[in-house]
Symmetry: C2
Subunit: 314 residues, 2 copies
């Protein structure tokens, strides 16, 4: 098999694109795809300050690498979630990655935020599924860090497989409100929010893994232990079967949705979501008096207090 | 496990409905579901004359059985497609079913229509996929039979699995024109067409199979030999995995689409499809001079003539 661009021996084949590349041409291809996504959807410019949410996985680290190569003004933000070994390992990988390359990195830490705010504790205390607790905590922390640091854009490493699985889930239940917000660029709905973008939304998990491997990026290979059995993985598996049968399925599913269907759905749902209040405690956007994060903190505090008073003396 | 209605020993469990039934209660449940679909979507009334497309499979025979039980004025229409043993067997089953119960049955036969019009011949001569050739031939034959016989409604046995697989295929490619016409009731777009309805669109393959078994209906168990490897089956398999993970997935996927999403898509596409001409040869609706069927007949005739003249004398 020969490289599509230079005709040298190919190292990677992309069935969805009916193409194969040698290593240098693949790296160029991958960067061009990211650049094209950024420019095509007008995600951000080189004058804007980007905050990139990094988990230590292949997607966020590969994206950080590409954005820096392309000359964007990017700062990493890692949120320590207190998920045992997994969090400890991912933090080490992120810090080593940033240090080696001299990249700016900010760290948030849920356990420092307050007692009982690590994801497993919140899940246990509030009897929420871990992924739901984690979602609330992450969204808030990212939003606040972007606002506090004066960033223009919040960037995440969601890839094509993530977006296709999310789209499939939303479509199977026809969650039109979620569909209305599933876009690679979300303009802020409040002055304290910043634009949110996903430059990898058309690049597959396989493509980012190959990029990370070729660039010698040392990333956390294991999935989050809480994701085991998550519905998202069932959707990914179903899509992988369909992709194997008909390469390109995931790409056209997501791309055509964003291009042709999403615009028709977007309008009304946005209108419903404008103008939240400010949280009376932290000042971030809120639908009631308190924002979702501060409500969660209160719930955790109350439940911890009840447990402590109910527990027999040690 | 006990019957949900009468508390006797249950014979069938429906995970999607979180219910189990004994035999008499299941038969009642199934008939009620069909009735509810007919009434809920205003498919037809007892004053209207129905032509039911019957293939000899479980869906169409089970539906015929239910419609007759419910007192509808229904006539079966079987189209012999010339697919070897499969067609021969299905015709025998349909004729035996109708004869035993004293049901009215009309028979169409593609091979009688003209030389080379059996599905395998058309596919070979015109180099079309069998399912595409079959679709054109069937649609036309059903439409013409309904018009010629003065029927009010054309009824088909498409079940939930068929509709969910079709919906998934349309959604994966975002074929908005197809989505706009995927409904359980299609009003005619031309005076020579009749209303088309699918009373089983919310009943699964499993549910109709159980009904057919309990009623002792002798149906063709094998799938059409041309369907092996069809993309539709890959979609069905993917949906069966998702259904196993989360029972009720197929039902809500199709039901919510029809209820909430389809109406938003329907308008423009219908407008594009109004007012076809009449075919100058057969008088059925056509987008050009000839209808799709008559064009296909011409193509077959020309290609057969070329083959015959090119063949060496036997």
């Amino acid at each position: 098999m020969k490289c599509k661009r230079c005709r040298e021996k190919a190292e990677v084949a992309l069935r969805a694109h009916n193409a194969a590349f040698c290593r240098p041409c693949y790296l160029g291809y991958f960067r061009r795809q990211v650049e094209r996504a950024i420019e095509g959807a007008r995600m951000f410019t080189k004058d804007e300050r980007l905050l990139l949410a990094v988990s230590g996985g292949k997607d966020s680290l590969a994206l950080w690498d590409v954005l820096a190569e392309l000359g964007y003004d990017v700062t990493g933000f890692y949120l320590a979630q207190g998920i045992g070994e997994y969090s400890a390992l991912s933090r080490t990988k992120v810090e080593a990655f940033a240090a080696t390359r001299g990249f700016r990195l900010e760290i948030g830490d849920l356990e420092q935020e307050g007692p009982g705010l690590a994801v497993p504790d919140v899940a246990r205390l509030t009897r929420r599924p871990s992924c739901s607790a984690c979602g609330t905590l992450k969204r808030y922390s990212f939003d606040r860090a972007a606002h506090a640091g004066g960033f223009d854009v919040l960037v995440t490493g969601h890839n094509l497989d993530d977006e296709a699985a999310r789209l499939l889930g939303n479509v199977l239940r026809w969650q039109t409100d979620h569909l209305a917000r599933q876009r690679p660029v979300l303009e802020p709905t409040h002055p304290k929010f910043v634009r949110k973008v996903k430059p990898l939304y058309l690049l597959s998990e396989y493509e980012t893994a190959v990029y990370a491997f070729m660039r010698g990026i040392d990333y956390v290979v294991d999935e989050c232990p809480n994701s085991v059995g998550a519905t998202q993985l069932v959707y990914k598996e179903a899509l992988n079967r369909l992709e194997a049968e008909s390469p390109g399925t995931k790409q056209s599913f997501v791309r055509e949705f964003v291009r042709r269907v999403q615009p028709a759905l977007a309008e009304p749902a946005i209108a419903e979501h404008t103008d939240p209040n400010a949280c009376v405690r932290c000042g971030m956007p809120a639908w009631g008096e308190l924002c979702g994060f501060c409500r969660l903190v209160d719930e955790v505090t109350t439940k911890r207090a009840r447990r402590t008073s109910a527990a027999p003396a040690a």
